[in-house]
């Protein structure tokens, strides 16, 4: 079934943004805490952690406030809550790359491997793709765009 894909109903996960106070990030400490490298995502404790920019990550999950507190204890980073700011749509099925390829310019066949975190666009929408596995990816979009983004994704589903 190479062309199948489904889209789960959206949800609004608990999100914290973790930012380094140091310009350009804090590589050594990042490694020590298991934070993902640029372009990557990782599962840390019960949270999903997505690299967003040098020295900046998103912590996603119900317990991410705790993780944020832990990771900011050294006072080299600060956290800011973004819960509700991002809508999440989970795409399941082997054709999820094909679905996104209708409006996303990235080379998903080559670059969207497990635990990669890709910031891109889907048509006019800024999106972040968290590749959970070969057949599953979470797509994050700003809450205010979610309704139109979801509609666009479903329209794209019809054409693949």
């Amino acid at each position: 079934m190479p062309d199948t894909c489904s889209i789960d109903d959206p949800d609004f996960p608990v999100v914290w943004r973790l930012s380094s106070l140091q310009a350009g990030g804090d590589g050594a400490q990042r490694d020590a805490h298991g934070l993902p490298a640029p372009g990557k995502a990782a599962s840390l404790q019960t949270s999903r952690v997505l690299w967003r920019a040098p020295g900046s990550w998103l912590l996603i999950g119900e317990r991410s406030a705790d993780l944020a507190a832990e990771l900011t204890a050294g006072k080299t980073r600060l956290a800011c809550e973004l819960t509700g700011a991002l809508g999440r749509l989970r795409c399941r099925g082997p054709a999820w790359r094909l679905l996104l390829q209708t409006a996303c310019p990235l080379d998903l066949q080559a670059d969207a491997v497990r635990d990669s975190c890709l910031a891109s666009v889907f048509g006019p929408f800024d999106i972040v793709i968290d590749v959970l596995g070969e057949d599953t990816a979470d797509i994050y979009v700003a809450r205010s765009f979610l309704q139109d983004f979801e509609a666009a994704l479903h329209r794209a589903l019809e054409q693949i």
């Binding site: 380094s20 106070l21 819960t83 310019p105 080379d107 066949q109 139109d148 329209r155």
Partner: protein, 973 residues
């Protein structure tokens, strides 16, 4: 000429007959036919009328270069004009309509224009319609009625269109021999290959060849290679045109999943592909040129190769009495193809001396009834179809009856995409043609577009180009299987321009068939100084239209070069712009139409706002409530009621669209103090402050509020309109101006809903919903449960700004609205908000903050701190302190609305300012406005006129102080 279906041959599926109509007449064809081949097989030779002179025209070619046989195809919203019959694949029920004729193709009234041709030389319209000037409206009406090619569809397109991005190690454009070789070589090397072909089948020029490959027919060989590509994992797209090469190697493709006018079998009709490949092999082939002689446009005069394609691919004889005109040996392949298909060739006329004709060519010509050499082609005779030709081999002209004339005028390599990729083309003087001067970036030409002629050479070039790309990708070039192509004719002279025997001032020797450009037109252009190829194109329309000069440009260039007595390479080529062939607007828009034109941003309480009866307006991408009409109220009535509710009782509005940022860290205060012109360091925890941000030029950039949430944490708001720009500016300063600051920025716009409760009863409403909230004084802020609340007012009333997380936003809004309504208040929208802030003299981005006004202009100087901050250097420029600058004033009219944007003129009629925003002051009971007026601060009490030319209204206004309502601020307490 009378075409017919051959008893056998071709690759059409004769077991699948298809019925179609053209101009109401029913025809039949077979699956695999094009509209052109089916019409030719049905003996229908008249295919169109020329653009200007309405001369009868027939099918000239068998490909995308077709200038004549253009049809409107389909019905209703699926109608597609200017469809090339040579490219439309036949389907059952196809409905075609000929174009550019009235009342019928056979009897076109406007064919009278052909008789008036001597009066209509190139550029006549530039000279003719100038005088008398008063007659231009009449001219325009007539010209507009006559102009244009084809009609637009009259109903909305019911079909969906798709888009897809694709990446590949190699993109192969064109699946002729070179393309097939390149795709196979790349795939065998292990590259990720995307191969596209504009036709429905592979093979390119081999479709018209009688060539055999390893014992197989050309068609069978191409089909087998195509199958092999698919087995090797090549993504093959047929009916897909590479229409343009854009910046950074982006290649645009349009894939047809349904033919023009056809209901798509799947979800979409066409798909736009945007492809980025590490390497591109351009195997776009070459296009045969027509011969130029008098009346060379008669229906039945056709390109030689096209005649062969109709015979070999479609099993169609383009005539029963065919005459073939040759100029080089290679085109005797077409002679062979026709003869092998069983078509009688009455004569082969070669323009060369007999000694120049090769042995193999002569051998095939011997199968024809007659071979003449040293021929000068003089004229084609007939009306709606060719009946005979006049030619000479000596001083005496001869006439030869025929119903089809196949002309071999030489081949032009297809350079469009190479040129668009910024490749250079060089003139090959020996061949008389432009050829690619090497690769264009990652795009390597191969095969006929690169000057190769024989299939063997094309295969070799394609394989080599792909092999080189494979090596560049770190792979090994695979060995070339080198299939053996039978090829018996010499390739010499294939590209050369044949001698022109026609009079250079002939008005019936056509160079550009679609635009009726003749040798005479080129001569006139030369005579009048339009000698550059670009000028020639514009002056004569040579090379314009749907075919973009595919068959005509090089001939026109040679003719002009001859007039200029210089080599064609000095004349150069016109610019090759995309698209290579016409692309429907729908394919480019691919669904971004109507409601899908651009996305909409919705507040977290959008559904609640709609439930409350909001009438929305777009504000940037946001949908915001403009007013909440009840019982059929107009905008003005609703805004009046809502503004009164705020002034007299309480109102509630959604401000979630405001930009919101969190700025935190040990250096947060210093950072904000640097970027904001308003002092931030002195702001205490638990307090909020209005703040102004300047641009680098010293003008006001934005205004908003800054809340000190904690010792090292600030909450910053920005206007909805400038939200993104403010964030950009904050990030710019963070990265480049203060890179060592220990500060983090976070855009929290989406993380907070925002509501404003304003009016005398606002306190009681807020306290009922948030009973535990501490008493807040002006500019106080508090974090309450998960919310943030502040006493800040934009309306001039006692007001609260309440920020709630999206998860609780709806319940918060509902609770507040219920209490507001219980108190006798109402929700209010942007219109009432506008009236309230104007009455209070508060400025807004876009109206007063327009990028040209300073803080002093707007009366905001008290918010500007001393010392260095962003924009302080720009603000210190003397020009910005000039007393002549326009300053903010209030405006009042007792009896008429003040037109927004209107110039303000004094009694002498001199403009001294303009109205920036206007509304009705419910607090003062008058029409009010804000404006910028020269020396405004000193002119209070003066009367000016707001003169709106667009609204045809002049309103007398009195200048006042900016704050018309409660200037002491007593209501804020």
């Amino acid at each position: 000429m009378s075409g017919s279906r051959l008893a056998a041959g071709g690759v059409v599926d004769r077991s699948r007959p298809l019925a179609f109509t053209v101009d109401g007449r029913t025809f039949s064809g077979f699956a695999g036919d094009t509209l052109a081949s089916a019409l030719l097989a049905s003996g229908s030779m008249l295919s169109g009328r020329s653009f200007k002179r309405h001369r009868p025209r027939g099918v000239l070619s068998a490909g995308p270069e077709e200038p004549n046989a253009l049809y409107g195809v389909g019905e209703g919203g699926r109608f597609e004009p200017n469809s090339r019959a040579t490219q439309v694949m036949l389907y059952d029920g196809l409905v075609g309509r000929s174009q550019n004729r009235w009342p019928s193709l056979e009897s076109d009234v406007l064919s009278v224009l052909d008789r008036a041709a001597p009066l209509l030389p190139a550029g006549f319209y530039y000279k003719t319609f100038k005088t008398p000037l008063s007659a231009w409206p009449v001219y325009e009406k007539v010209i507009r009625a006559l102009a244009g090619l084809g009609d637009p569809p009259q109903a909305p397109d019911p079909d969906a269109y798709g888009e897809r991005f694709a990446h590949a190690d190699m993109l192969v454009i064109g699946l002729g021999v070179a393309g097939l070789a390149a795709a196979r070589a790349a795939a065998e090397a292990g590259l990720r290959v995307l191969a596209v072909e504009q036709d429905s089948v592979a093979g390119g020029a081999m479709q018209g060849a009688a060539t055999r490959v390893g014992g197989f027919s050309a068609a069978a060989f191409a089909a087998e290679e195509l199958g092999r590509l698919r087995e090797l994992g090549v993504r093959v797209l047929v009916r897909t045109t590479a229409f343009g090469v854009y910046d950074h190697g982006l290649v645009g493709l349009v894939q047809r999943l349904a033919e023009p006018g056809q209901k798509p079998g799947g979800a979409i009709s066409q798909r736009l592909w945007k492809v980025r490949a590490r390497h591109v092999v351009l195997a776009a082939g070459a296009i045969e040129r027509p011969l130029v002689f008098d009346n060379n446009d008669r229906p039945g005069v056709m390109l030689a190769h096209a005649g062969a394609v109709y015979a070999q691919r479609f099993g169609v004889a383009v005539g029963q009495n065919v005459v073939f005109v040759a100029n080089h040996d290679h085109d005797y392949q077409a002679v062979r193809a026709l003869l092998e298909a069983g078509i009688r060739i009455a004569a082969v006329l070669d323009q060369r001396p007999l000694a120049d004709i090769g042995a193999a060519a002569r051998q095939w010509a011997a199968h024809a009834v007659d071979l003449r050499s040293g021929v000068r082609l003089l004229d084609a005779r007939g009306g709606r179809a060719i009946e005979s030709i006049r030619f000479s081999t000596d001083a005496t002209p001869s006439v030869l009856a025929c119903d089809a004339l196949l002309c071999a005028g030489g081949w032009t390599p297809t350079l469009h995409l190479h040129a668009q990729a910024r490749g250079r083309q060089a003139f090959d003087a020996a061949r008389g043609v432009f050829l690619p001067d090497g690769a264009a970036g990652n795009l390597a030409p191969a095969g006929a577009c690169n000057g190769a002629v024989t299939p063997q050479d094309c295969w070799r070039e394609g394989w080599r180009a792909a092999g080189e790309a494979a090596v560049a990708c770190g792979r090994k070039a695979p060995p070339d299987p080198a299939p053996r192509f039978e090829h018996e004719c010499d390739a010499e002279g294939v590209h050369a321009m044949p001698p022109l025997h026609a009079d250079r001032r002939s008005k019936t020797a056509f160079v550009d068939f679609q635009n009726d450009v003749t040798l005479a037109d080129i001569a006139i252009a030369h005579q009048e100084g339009y000698q550059s190829v670009e000028h020639l194109k514009r002056y004569t329309t040579l090379g314009m239209g749907t075919d973009q000069g595919k068959t005509s440009n090089l001939i026109g260039l040679h003719v002009m070069a001859e007039h200029r007595q210089q080599s064609p390479d000095l004349a150069g080529l016109t610019t090759y712009r995309p698209p290579y062939t016409p692309v429907t607007i729908a394919a480019l828009a691919h669904g971004h139409t109507g409601a899908h034109l651009e996305p909409v941003r919705r507040s977290p309480v959008f559904a609640d706002l709609a439930e409350a009866g909001a009438a929305f307006q777009t504000s940037g991408l946001w949908l915001r409530p403009r007013y909440f009409p009840t019982r059929g109220e107009t905008l003005a009535q609703a805004a009046m009621r809502e503004a009164k509710a705020v002034r007299d009782c309480v109102g509630l509005t959604d401000a979630s669209t405001l930009g919101k940022f969190e700025v935190a860290g040990p250096d947060a205060a210093a950072f904000l103090d640097l970027i904001y012109a308003t002092g931030v360091r002195s702001l205490k925890v638990g307090k909020a402050r209005y703040a102004v941000m300047l641009n680098d030029d010293g003008c006001v950039f934005d205004d908003g509020t800054i809340w000190r949430v904690a010792e090292e944490r600030y909450f910053v708001t920005a206007s909805t309109a400038r939200s993104a720009a403010v964030l950009q500016r904050l990030e710019l300063f963070r990265e480049f101006v203060a890179p060592h600051s220990r500060v983090v920025l976070c855009d929290v716009t989406e993380a907070w809903a925002a509501f404003v409760v304003a009016g005398p009863a606002s306190r009681s409403v807020v306290m009922k919903v948030l009973p535990q909230l501490d008493e807040l004084g002006p500019q106080d802020m508090a974090v309450h449960q998960s919310m943030r609340v502040s006493r800040i007012s934009y309306s001039g009333e006692h007001a609260y700004e309440i920020y709630a997380p999206p998860a609780t936003a709806s319940s918060c809004w509902r609770a507040l609205l219920a209490e507001v309504r219980k108190a006798g208040g109402a929700p209010y929208g942007l219109e009432a908000l506008e009236w309230l802030r104007i009455e209070k003299g508060h400025v807004a981005v876009g109206a007063e903050i327009d990028g040209r006004t300073t803080a002093a202009d707007l009366g905001l100087h008290r918010w500007i701190k001393k010392g260095v901050h962003a924009g302080s250097a720009g603000a210190s420029r003397p020009a910005l302190a000039s007393p002549d600058r326009w300053r903010l004033v209030g405006l009042r009219s007792e009896n008429a609305g003040i037109p927004e944007g209107a110039p303000l003129v004094d009694e002498a009629g001199v403009q001294v300012g303009r109205v920036t925003s206007s509304g009705f002051g419910v607090g003062v009971g008058a029409h009010i406005a804000l404006g910028l007026v020269r020396h405004g601060a000193e002119r209070h009490g003066e009367i000016l006129t707001a003169a709106s030319a667009t609204r045809r209204r002049n309103v007398r206004v009195r200048l006042t102080q900016t704050c018309a309502y409660d200037p002491e601020g007593a209501r804020l307490a």
